[in-house]
Structures are given as structure tokens and as C-alpha cells.
Symmetry: C2
Amino acid sequence: MPQSEVYAIKGIRLSTVAAGIRYPNRKDLVLFEIDEGATVSGVFTQNIFAAAPVLLCREHLAVASPRYLLINTGNANAGTGDKGLNDARQTCEALATLSGVIPAEILPFSTGVTTEFLPTQPIIDHMEVLLDGLGEASWTEAATGIMTTDTVPKALGVRFEIGGEVVTISGMTKGSGMIRPNMATMLSYIATDAAIAKSSLDKMLQTAMAQSFNRITVDGDTSTNDSCVLIATGKGKTLGGEKDEAIFLAQLIKLVRDLAQMMVRDAEGASKFVTITVSGGASSQDCLQVAYRIAHSPLVKTAFASGDANLGRIMVAIGNAEVAGLQADAVTMHVGGVRILHHGIDPAYVEAKVVDILKQPEFEVCVDLGMGTEVETVWTCDLTHEYISINADYRS
Amino acid sequence: MPQSEVYAIKGIRLSTVAAGIRYPNRKDLVLFEIDEGATVSGVFTQNIFAAAPVLLCREHLAVASPRYLLINTGNANAGTGDKGLNDARQTCEALATLSGVIPAEILPFSTGVTTEFLPTQPIIDHMEVLLDGLGEASWTEAATGIMTTDTVPKALGVRFEIGGEVVTISGMTKGSGMIRPNMATMLSYIATDAAIAKSSLDKMLQTAMAQSFNRITVDGDTSTNDSCVLIATGKGKTLGGEKDEAIFLAQLIKLVRDLAQMMVRDAEGASKFVTITVSGGASSQDCLQVAYRIAHSPLVKTAFASGDANLGRIMVAIGNAEVAGLQADAVTMHVGGVRILHHGIDPAYVEAKVVDILKQPEFEVCVDLGMGTEVETVWTCDLTHEYISINADYRS
């Protein structure tokens, strides 16, 4: 289980307000202030309808090092064309004027409903109070401020030593539907007090993503606004080469994996957390294809929800994964350690063995393709009535 | 809307009984008897876990022309390995002995729960009464006998003239979940009294499939038991070349498309029937990728269910379709004739325009990719609470 503490990071101050962007009295505007001298990496959605703030983040990151992250919920500013881009620019310009930086030093982020124009005025109107509220200890409040359909704020921290010096990493994330991150997740912000060169930071963020946010799925939909930012403020330990970086990376991966799994646990309507491990693949791609095919099958997901041992549905999903050269006879499948499939149904298998496993809130599906040595793990959830309720009524 | 009549086909007799394969007093065993001299084509699932009866159908079709189709519901005999194959063989052998044909002249079909062994005894025990009950006029009863979670039997017929002679085609189909046929659908049987050479029949079945069963999806899962058989008994008109075949093919396509659409209308929990047309593709594959991405998105399907105009979810799905070279700015989207997306949100678009459309039981989504001239259409349905109820309790 993830740790529950989140730590302040020297060189970063946060502020959160309720600006009334979509709903009254809901914290919906968050500001990160980053001290000069930090290095910052970002990864963003691969959806071709990347939202206006994502386009602007890419543009700004290419020319400047960020001093502010300005995050609003309630409206995604996606599918909004040139007007959407101008709206996002306008909020950056307003903040730049008040804070004395240039607009390119500000990264804007939005999440919420798409294809509606961003209400810029409430954002601009609340900038002074946002700036006035900046403080180091507000991580949990900020994690609340970036929520949409999330039911709990998601923030975690870790402290460890490198060469006798304490290093801290803290992170927060949001998202519980439209989740199949592809490069990053809905919105996620991670920061450390370590000093890390930009090129190393970029590489570590990519590596950590591939083992965390890019391995979870709720419903297979990659949002237009997926963004993840990693900040190294440089106020603490300076990483001294490959060995230090390896220690840091391991801790970073653990933290973002825990954050990613928190999203699956809090996924819209989810009642089960399921780990799907596919081994014996000829390629990592083959393993992922099978894992996602299982994770996205509505029939598998409803079987998980019901706790019914109708596990032939997993077999059907594997068989549909379009893995070249896959032989039905070579496939082995375990659920919660019980072998079910091995040249067809395992003769020793009886349903009674898995009934209790499927009633647990967490279990693992292991599939071996019998083709090679690659392994991949994906985390997902079940599909419930509650998911339908949330998504058929999302905007009501 | 599909026609409602189904006609007897000279040279084919049907019989249906309740054999108690899974549930008592439910018609679950159907027999087709085909006169000698007919030509028969079949297409089958592309799932790598093709069920035992599918493997046997392929084997038998390669060496003989079918005289009987033996169809059971209640158990799919899928994922059952060598024992499953032997079980299916045993039912064919029992019928062969009683009817005086060789086993290879019998095609077995199964549908129902997977990864459980087929109860062969009730099938064998009911063969005499099945054979005794054979008659020409029992198409609707047989269509009832092949149902599983279907709520209505699906049988249709068409009569038309070729060169002054009346030609009849009748067909039946079943299936309402685990529907994304890939070569054929769950189970579908089509017959005509026309005389058609095997090679022409094969080609026409393939062509018709590509415009009907292979263009529908309920939940994206291709069953292990998908099978479609087309029989030409040759008791009536002999098709006299390409012109006759073109007339026949057009009628065949219309019939199987109507049958396919009946499956979507009766899909598990479906309350909306949605036509998705994607034009302007550089390839047919690109169009299908976008259409299926929309059709499989749980967020799009729940928006359809709610009748809420949260149509940005369609845009998100398009953006996730991984079509190489697709430009967000070039995409146009209409729903029910109202233009929504064109370089971002159409400035003239207001939600009020689509609210009434989305409350209709049927509407169309049209997407133009602005890349080429290819067009594809896919038919699908919404995702409702009822789908979850049906599939979380399927075996209870």
C-alpha cells in the first residue's frame, strides 16, 4: 500500500483557491511557485486533440524554465481551437504581469469538460489571492484542488538517503476516469529538493512513466490533457553521477507507481484492483497488447465486478489480442495463483478454488504466452454500475 | 427497418427441441437437414481460441459437403482442449449413425458459457426426436432455439426475381453480447433455393460479411464460436453468370446487414442504435480504426446512454485512434446532421441543437478525417446499467 505522508519541498510553494470555474465553493485553481535554478521536465498526452494548455506547455518548455504552474479544474480547454489557445495565453499573461516573470515561464494546465471554452475571468480574478496564499506546506490541499471525479486527494512523499544526505520526493496526481495515460496521466506533479541536470531529469521521468502511469488503465481512453511534470529544485543534495541517479530513480519509480495505482484504486466506480501480468512474450509490445485487451474487455471487467468465476472471458480476450504467432495451446493462465488454462482447461482446475479469490478487493491475473521472455504488468479495475452512473450523469 | 417475414427454403428442413443442456424447458438444440446437391460456405471466428466445434467445422468443410448442421446453446465447448474436440466429434458420430451420413457431412455449432465441458449426453439423447421433428416451416422456432441472452429471435427472408424466376433467401442469427464479429458473428445461418457454384458462394459470403456482420460491435469482444454458414440448395433458379450474381449479392448483403443490425438493436442492455460513418480516410483501415475507437469507448457509450451532449468524448476517442498523419485541425464531426467539430468547436454549434437528437433511439455520428476518399460505416449501441446487470450475473 502507498505511504500516506507528503512532504514540503524546499524551493516550491503552493496555493489553492475556489475560483468558481464550474461549481461554486469547490477548490479548482492551484498555483505552484518554483524558485529560480530548478530543472523541470514534462511529458504530455499523445492524443492528437492535445488541449490548448498542453500545446502551450510544450511551447513554453522549449524556450524557458518554468517558474509557475497554473492549474484549473472544471474545464479542460480541449477541442477549443485558436480561441482556446488564446484563452490559455491570456491567463499566463495575467499571471506574468502580477508576478514579474515572462509568460513563457508559466505552464498552464486544465482538466474537466472538453469542447467548451475556458472561463478565463474567474481565473484572472483570483490570481492575487492565489499569489498571496503561497506556502510550502500545502501539498494535500493542492492535491484536493486538482480533483475532478476523484473521491480522494492523491499525494505521497518519500524520504531516503543518498551519500548520507536526505533526499525528499513528493508528488500528487488526479484522475479517475478517461484513464489510459499515454506518456503521462491526467495531471500529475512531482518535485524533489535534489539537484539534477535537465537531461538526466528528462530521462528519469520517461523511465518512471513507462513503469507507472503508462501501465494503468481504467477505461482505455487517453485524455487530451494528460500532463506530468517533474521538478528538481536543487535546494538539497546534488546527485553525484550514475550511482546516485540509480538510487533516486528507484525511489522515483516507486513513488509514481504508488501514485498511479492510487488512481486505479479510486477509479470511477471501481470495486476491485486487478494486476495483470503477461509473461512469455516475444516482445514487450505483445505482452502489453494481451494485458490491455484483458484490461479493456467489458466482459472481463464485469466478471471481475460480479466476483463470478466466468474466467473463460479472459481466455476470449487473450485470443482476440492479435498477437502474431500466438498458439492457443501454449497459453497458460493463473488467477490468484490458481492455474486455470494450460492446453485448454487445467484438468485439476475447479471453480471453487477461485471463488474466494475473486471476492477479494485485489487479485492478480497471470498469463504466460509461451513465446519468449518478455514480461509486462498493467494495473486496472472492474466495470460497475457506479461507473455507468458517474459517466452517464457526469455533467448533470 | 428489417423485414419481419422469413420463408421456407426448398431443400432445407429444420427441427428444434429443448434438450436441457444448461437450463430446463429452454429450446437449446437445433438441427438443419440439407438435401444432397447443395453448396455450402462457412466463415468462422479469428479468435485464436477458436472453439472445438469451429475447429471441427473447418475440418469437415475441407473434405465433405454438409448434410446436417447441429447447433446447441448453453455451452460453447470453447477452451476445452482435446476433450472438447472429442466431445464434438462424438455428437457428430451419433448423428451420423442415426441419419446414415458420414460424420464429416455434419457441422457442429455451440454457443454459451466457455471453459466448461460440453454435456454430450442430453444432445445425443435428443437426436431421434430432433430427426423426427424435421420440417420446412420452422425457421422462427429454430431462430428461437439458437438464442442465448438474445431477447428476440432474429430471422428474416427476402424474395426477388432474377430473369423472371423467384429467388428466396432466408437467414437467422443470434448474439447480443461478446459481439465484435471478425469474419462472422456468433451463429448465423443463411440459405437460398438458388443454385450457386461453391466458388461464387464463398466469394459472396465474404463480400456480404465485410458489409454486415464484420461492421457491428457491441463490446469489442470477438467470440470463440463465431460462425456463419450460407447454403444454396439449388432447388430453384440457377444463377446464370455475373449479372445474376450481382442481383443476388445485393439482396444477400441487404439481408445479412439487416440481420447484423438486429443484433445491435437487441444488444445486451442497449437503448440506442448508433451508426458511425467515418469518411475522408487515407485507407479503409484508418476509417475503421476511428469508427471502432468511438464505438468501443465506454465514455462515448455512456454519453450515448445518458443522452447528454458531452460530445467532446467522441473527439477524445478520435484523437486516440492512432491514425498516422491525422491532423486535429482537419477533422470534422457531425452528430445527427449538426456540425460540432471543424477546426475545434464549430462557432455556430450550440448544445441545444443536439439535445433532442441524442434522445432519439437511433442517430448517426459522421466523422471526416480530411485525409483521403475512403469511407466505412460501423453500427453500435450504448453502454447501460442493464449491460452491467446482464454480464455481472450472466451465469447466476
